[in-house]
């Protein structure tokens, strides 16, 4: 006897809904769990005092600084490279073998796991170029890591600018560079910034690539060649060495909030971008 399709559908949809709910539940559980245990620890004092006894007590201030400076440096390096690449690919060439090579490079780079970036950053920046474990080594490594993201989102944003805008600009006697700087990029800006925010989010969460390039010093950096510890690294050390579960939760809470905030800003910008264009 065949089961009527109506019932197979009900069964199937229930299964699917269940799967989706499980996914959402698990992911939400993680956030709630961490925030529940970590928010009580998070206080102004926690954020702005230095750690004591290697992190068993005290706050996380230097790691906060590290988590701000390192992504900032990475973005400062990756931004011109990434946006410039996107501009070149969209405005200055047709699809030739050169562009294919560039895209291939970008796609491969996107697939490389962070531990390999850690290895590379270590052997190239830390050892061979002699920069040691430092902001610079970490920033350069992270910049390469987020480069594909910046290129992809920037390219998409630039392509979304209507061709008619460019035509109008040209018909008024603008050069290609003037058109890019005065019409295309300003219009693509929300989309580009979305990409930058996603890149920053990745840098904040990153651990493997950071430990082996920026080190884990708890001292406030005095120069670009000093080692820094980011919150992600600090959290890892606290958790693995079992130094202080309480502080670990606190650090994790800050981390999650930071990442959620950057992603939220990115999405809000993207929606504004889409809304503005479809008006």
């Amino acid at each position: 006897m065949r089961i009527p399709p109506k019932y197979t559908q009900m069964f199937a949809v229930t299964l699917l809904a269940g799967a989706t709910l499980v996914t959402l539940a698990v992911l939400l559980f993680i956030i709630v769990f961490v925030l529940q245990k970590g928010l009580p620890v998070m206080s102004v004092k926690f954020l702005f005092t230095n750690p004591q006894e290697m992190g068993r007590a005290g706050g996380i201030f230097p790691t906060l600084v590290g988590s701000v400076l390192l992504p900032l440096l990475a973005i400062l390096i990756a931004m011109p490279l990434g946006i410039g690449t996107a501009v070149y690919l969209t405005e200055y060439t047709r699809e030739t073998w050169v562009t294919k090579v560039i895209r291939f490079g970008t796609d491969c780079l996107a697939g490389i796991p962070s531990i390999i970036f850690g290895l590379f950053g270590f052997i190239f920046f830390v050892v061979m170029l002699g920069m040691g474990w430092s902001l610079m080594s970490g920033g350069l490594t992270l910049a390469i890591m987020i480069l594909p993201t910046i290129i992809r989102t920037s390219e998409e944003a630039i392509r979304a600018v209507p061709h008619s805008f460019r035509e109008v600009s040209f018909s008024l006697g603008a050069t290609r560079w003037e058109t890019v700087m005065k019409v295309v990029l300003p219009n693509a800006l929300p989309g580009i910034v979305t990409g930058l925010m996603l890149g920053i989010g990745r840098c904040i969460s990153e651990t493997a690539a950071v430990i082996f390039t920026a080190g884990s010093s708890l001292r406030l950096p005095q120069s670009g060649f000093d080692s820094v510890r980011t919150m992600a690294v600090h959290f890892y050390i606290l958790a693995r060495e079992g130094l202080s579960n309480e502080n670990a939760y606190g650090t994790a809470a800050v981390l999650i909030i930071a990442v959620l905030l950057t992603n939220l800003v990115a999405y809000w910008l993207m929606h504004r971008f889409i809304a503005r264009r479809t008006k």
Partner: protein, 252 residues
Amino acid sequence: MSDAKITVRKLSVFFGQVQSLRWVTMDVPRNRILGIIGPSGSGKTTFLRTLNRLNDLFPNTHIEGEVLLDGQDIHHPGFDVVALRKRIGMVFALPVPLPMSIFDNIVYGPRLSGVKGRDRLNELVERSLKAAFLWDEVKDRLQTSGLRLSGGQQQRLCLARTLAMEPEVILLDEPCSGLDPISTAKIEEALTVLKAKYTIVLVTNNTKQAARVADDTAFFLMGEMIEYGPTPQIFTVPHDKRTNDYVTGRFG
């Protein structure tokens, strides 16, 4: 010869292998409105865009023949294309205000050419908007976004923007195609006044518009320029049968 602002000799335009214009030969007379009519796909827009070399933006295009502006070959290697586009302005079919204020839209081109100074720019904006018959409607809100204007206003904004460059030639590609009759009338009125100072080429799908506004008319069909002459003659006693069929509405 000196009456022609632009001279076109045996112009053919190729997009890759496809030949969109076939050996077009004609003159664009100074200070008159030249209307270009013909069914879709006849090459009118391609012709127009060749005059300000906007077709260069597409890959794989090349031309044969020559286009002379005041006697100079505009496709001569080394010819300054950017300067060309300042002398020949263009208004597109769909109004495309740049996403900026009305004021910024108008001064976009002049600023790039180096025009500076609050007063000069203000005067330029007022002059251009008046010539496009838009000044009275927007003079109190020059800082609002160009996107907020109605379709007809936006198109007049685009006209004003082109005029602000103080070009010698104005090309218009079906400028009234999306507009209501009142806006259309305003633009046609503007063109009639402007021809005293400018040479105007108007591509239009609407034969009646050409009959109203153009001094001379050229009929294009399938990439060829079939006939060219004074507007009254084209519309009453055309020499070519195909022209006659088109203007009487037998096909379109």
